[in-house]
Symmetry: C2
Amino acid sequence: MPHDGEWAATTKGEATAARIRAVALDQFSQLGFERVTMGGIAKAAGVSQPALHYHFEDKAHLWRSAMLGLRAVIQEEERLIEAAADAPPLTQLRVAMRLFLQISWKHPALGRIVALEGMAGGERLEWLDRHLLGARNRRLAAIAAEAVAAGDLLPYPPEQMVVTLQTAAVGVINLAPLMRTTFDCDVAAAREIHDDMILEAVLGGFLTEKGRRAQEEAQ
Amino acid sequence: MPHDGEWAATTKGEATAARIRAVALDQFSQLGFERVTMGGIAKAAGVSQPALHYHFEDKAHLWRSAMLGLRAVIQEEERLIEAAADAPPLTQLRVAMRLFLQISWKHPALGRIVALEGMAGGERLEWLDRHLLGARNRRLAAIAAEAVAAGDLLPYPPEQMVVTLQTAAVGVINLAPLMRTTFDCDVAAAREIHDDMILEAVLGGFLTEKGRRAQEEAQ
DNA sequence: AGCTTTTCTGATTTTGTAGTCAGAAATTGG
DNA sequence: CCAATTTCTGACTACAAAATCAGAAAAGCT
């Protein structure tokens, strides 16, 4: 029962399929779709190249299957955001940003792939929007709009704020190679400082006076 | 005298070479190095594919030559930053961010290429660091460090602040296709609002109380 | 105009990679 | 332990794109 790419029982095949997915996710995120070769994935996964075509119909299917491994992560995030739906919108945003940072450190592939495909456009971006990120991002924009309406956030377009917050949050994570080349510094070493910087300085910068007071009270 | 890729006089050859460079820069920034084909560039530039190999030794040389077209832009930016070297560091940072935004709108290719190569690492990133961006970015980090020392900026690592500010600034510009797909909105339409958001909310978020007062006075 | 140099093209080679297929090896179920 | 099924490999094809080269066309010069 090859070519499905779904989560079957714990058979031998599913084990290697999972290994292939993991390697593929890693490589796709570091290099982008085109630079990755089936042969390279096969080698890193310790199988022959045709084995990939046994488990996954073609390169595009493998890419999607690798992405689906992140769907559970996103869905859990959406669940946790929704769980805070009764809190004030500003609190929801902070929760969402905390979760986003957590996910970005644990699954750096996600942010890099969004950056790669989000710049290029095309069918892979549309797939990501439809199956992984669209609903989440539109929900976040809605929350940001509420926070603006409540007078807690500066009145900028919510979509731009959400995307700017996210790109700022993953900036140095995505650009780890650049940070090393230009500054010879390792970002992952200063994770707590970075998270604090994003939450306090960047998210903090979008708060109105009222929002700042509300946040101080909440602590 | 082929294969040099330098700026000669206004001969027939240099005209087509320039056309090729322009097309190449455009395509490289939208698609990344690998997705771009010599044939595609040739077609868009209205020449045959071997003509590219006449003017540029190979694909890598063409890429570098196209990048060098941006060097004048960066050098002018560095010059303008240096011209403000006597002002307080916070003012220099604001000037630098304004220039960065200006360049990002005028040459969106630059930010996209930095994002692409800065995530992937490799020799093209090292080339960019050495010939285009390294000096500028290290200079900015030094200015940020001064601003921290002066008590105007929150005490986060200057390198992280600089890169975070830049990624935040180009976020929605780079991710224009994503903004369209997910939110059906056109970023370029709201350029002034975006620039204001970056300067006031994002850069503003990094200011200390003292920094905020200093900035209000300066106006 | 006639010669030289620059600029470019058509045809071709070379290379790297996606995808196919027959059959071997391993695994599973009876 | 044997047969059926799943899993995987080696050898191969197909193809797209980079790079090469001999020579044609164009531009420049005297």
